[in-house]
């Protein structure tokens, strides 16, 4: 893995900055742990044995490389050649398993026996609980109370796997508050605990570390696309909440200027309504959860509550590398509303027999939006790789309610 060195690997700098973004805005009590983690990460990535063990786990346990599937019936509706990167087929049903296996190996390497995690839709929580079971680690997952209710199935999964799920009742009771609570736990228990953070956000080295563990998505997709089509894609698309799946697939293409990168944020009811989770489109530069990035905030710097039909995207910040990719103009970020996402969700179900995560449905909806413009610009049908980051089992209840198709007693 990660054999191809790229110019984009030069970021972050030694202090964890991506241009003006990133860094460490944390209590001093955590700095020693972040330093330890940074050193462990650097040593591990340089260690052949570590890389080989992770590669074996990813292949034999997680089931990667995931397929790159040409969605012909969906393509016909989109007006583009759409290739789906099937991260939904990974063990635990999402790209998240790549990150947790890497971090679980690091946890063992640091000699720690306990992991904590935060989760929104639950996919990261399920992945963390899975890795904890596999590595015999104690696992506590913080989840906003609102999310425990809308993701009850995943809460049950985590408990089956032996994790303790703690519903967080402060603030907006969603992913943001789960992250606050996990940080508090970490401050108090940092000696024996690793914070197995679920996205490419948080203080340095987390954004770089998570990127390293998920970048295989893009490495695989790039090679698979070349094999299948003989060329690089015209565009790569992904949904963006915290942004780990998007970064994972983007990273391999950052140094290919002919490949357009599109991140689709959760536009909720529409950015103009204020009820959304589009941090880049509708937010401003600030500091949240240990990093400088784009944040949904009011005039006083208080974090504003986000909204999305997708619990996994319902977060008022974004990983700092995305903030940098936006400001540098390398990637384009656009909002997708709840309704647009659900229309794309339904379309993929009916054309391909694949029920996507609602997160991933945002990427599908955004693809529908940009395909026409791309075709006009290129003067031909574009090839677009979409990161289908997760499967929709966990969202069946939400989607069933949205479409009004649940039978009531």
């Amino acid at each position: 893995m990660n054999e191809r060195q790229r110019a984009s690997d030069e970021l972050p700098d030694a202090a964890g900055h991506f241009g003006p973004f990133g860094g460490r805005f944390v209590p001093e009590a955590l700095v020693a742990a972040l330093d330890e983690l940074e050193a462990a990460h650097r040593a591990a990535m340089a260690d052949e044995a570590f890389r080989a063990e992770l590669a074996d786990l990813l292949r034999d346990y997680a089931g990667t490389p995931s397929l790159l599937y040409e969605a012909r019936r969906f393509s016909a509706q989109v007006g583009a050649r759409v290739l789906l990167k099937r991260e939904d087929l990974n063990h635990t049903g999402a790209h998240k398993v790549r990150n947790v296996l890497g971090q679980a190996l690091l946890t063992r390497r640091m000699g720690k026996k306990r992991v904590i995690a935060e989760t929104g839709a639950g996919q990261h929580g399920v992945a963390a609980a899975t890795a904890a079971a596999l590595f015999d680690l104690d696992c506590v997952v913080y989840m906003g109370q609102v999310d425990t209710e809308r993701q009850a199935l995943n809460v049950a999964r985590m408990r089956m796997l032996g994790a303790r799920v703690v519903p967080v009742t402060t603030g907006s009771r969603t992913l943001k508050d789960a992250m606050n609570e996990a940080m508090r736990d970490w401050v108090a228990n940092v000696d024996e605990t690793h914070y197995l953070i679920g996205t490419a956000a948080g203080p340095h080295p987390f954004p770089a570390l998570v990127r390293d563990f998920v970048r295989g998505i893009g490495d695989e997709a790039r090679a698979q696309c070349l094999d299948l089509t003989g060329a690089l894609p015209d565009a790569v698309t992904a949904c963006v909440g915290g942004g780990s799946n998007a970064l994972g697939i983007f990273h391999a293409f950052v140094d290919d200027p002919q490949v357009r990168l599109y991140g689709f944020e959760a536009g909720g009811d529409g950015v103009a309504t204020g009820r959304h989770a589009a941090s880049i489109t509708g937010g401003s530069t600030g500091v949240l959860h240990g990093t400088r990035t784009y944040v949904l905030q009011d005039a006083d710097g208080q974090t504003q509550e986000s909204h999305s039909i997708s619990a996994g995207l319902d977060y008022p910040g974004v990983g700092p590398e995305h903030a940098w990719l936006h400001d540098s103009g390398r990637a384009s970020y656009q909002p997708v509303t709840d309704d647009e996402a659900m229309a794309a969700f339904e379309l993929l179900c009916r054309t391909e027999g694949i029920i996507p995560a609602i997160e991933s449905a945002h990427a599908l909806a955004g693809t529908l939006t940009v395909a026409g413009k791309l075709a006009a610009e290129l003067g031909r049908q574009p090839t677009i790789v979409v990161n289908l980051s997760g499967r929709g089992d966990k969202d069946v209840h939400t989607a069933g309610e949205y479409f009004g198709i649940l039978d009531r007693e």
Partner: protein
């Protein structure tokens, strides 16, 4: 020397520690918080720490978060905080402000420093800002003659401790425990060691916070620190009270007990 430096010198001459009492600005209301802080001063609290309420206080436990949520729900703004600083500083006690970093960045770092100095504030405690990320604040605090208090922790290496203390002015904040705010039944074993490590690298006064809630605990910490910093236990007086008058009465009682404690250090 800042007003807080004068207070530390006087307390040292008297052989005692200072009592620093913390309260979120705007809790339960703007006027209510001024009344609470004034009551603390009249009951013997030497320095008032005004915390700017923040939506995501990762270093704070449930009591402070609840009080901050009440303040924010009541519509308190950063400029209200400055009005509170001005009102409390008017009583003659040194007022130090504690804040998570984002509200200051949003206000404008230089503008905030200017307005805080104009309001009579002595400086800022920054729980989530380490010196490496503090370039703008270092410049602004220099420009307006404000103290800056960074935190040191039991986990700080000697190298980091020296670097951090080197950027402090006014006093150093030693976090007594690895954990969030909230009164505990026992004070920390790690704190005396941490204070002695700080003393090896600076003459600045050292304040110890996190975990102090009784007069006896205050006396223990006063035995080795220059300031005893109390937040959650004082705030709980108001959070738990049936009405404002009862809250203020409880606040006065606990403030007096803590003030007595810092005057009888366990040495």
């Amino acid at each position: 020397m800042s007003r807080i430096g004068v207070a530390f010198d006087k307390a040292r001459a008297d052989g005692r520690a200072l009592l620093v009492g913390c309260m979120p600005a705007g809790f339960p209301t703007v006027e209510g918080s001024i009344a609470a802080m004034t009551a603390m001063v009249s009951a013997g609290v030497d320095v008032i720490e005004v915390e700017i309420p923040y939506s995501d206080p990762v270093m704070d436990g449930p009591v402070i978060q609840r009080a901050s949520d009440i303040a924010l729900a009541g519509g308190v703004r950063t400029r209200d905080t400055l009005r509170i600083v001005e009102a409390v500083a008017g009583t003659g006690v040194p007022v130090v402000t504690m804040t998570y970093w984002n509200p200051i960045e949003r206000y404008g770092v230089d503008a905030f420093a200017r307005d805080l100095a104009a309001a009579g504030g002595t400086g800022l405690i920054t729980p989530d800002l380490i010196p490496e990320e503090a370039g703008e604040w270092l410049a602004a605090s220099d420009a307006y003659g404000l103290d800056r208090t960074f935190l040191v922790a039991p986990s700080s290496t000697d190298e980091r401790l020296t670097m951090t203390v080197g950027h402090c002015r006014g006093f150093v904040y030693a976090t007594a425990i690895m954990g969030v705010t909230g009164a505990r039944s026992q004070t920390s074993q790690a704190a005396p060691l941490l204070v002695s490590r700080v003393r090896q690298v600076t003459d600045l006064p050292v304040g110890v916070g996190l975990g102090v809630g009784t007069g006896a605990q205050a006396a223990t910490v006063a035995g080795y620190a220059d300031a005893v910093i109390v937040g959650s236990a004082l705030i709980r007086c108001l959070v738990d009270a049936p009405d404002e008058a009862a809250g203020l009465a409880a606040l006065r009682t606990l403030s007096a007990e803590l003030a007595e404690g810092v005057r009888q250090p366990d040495r």
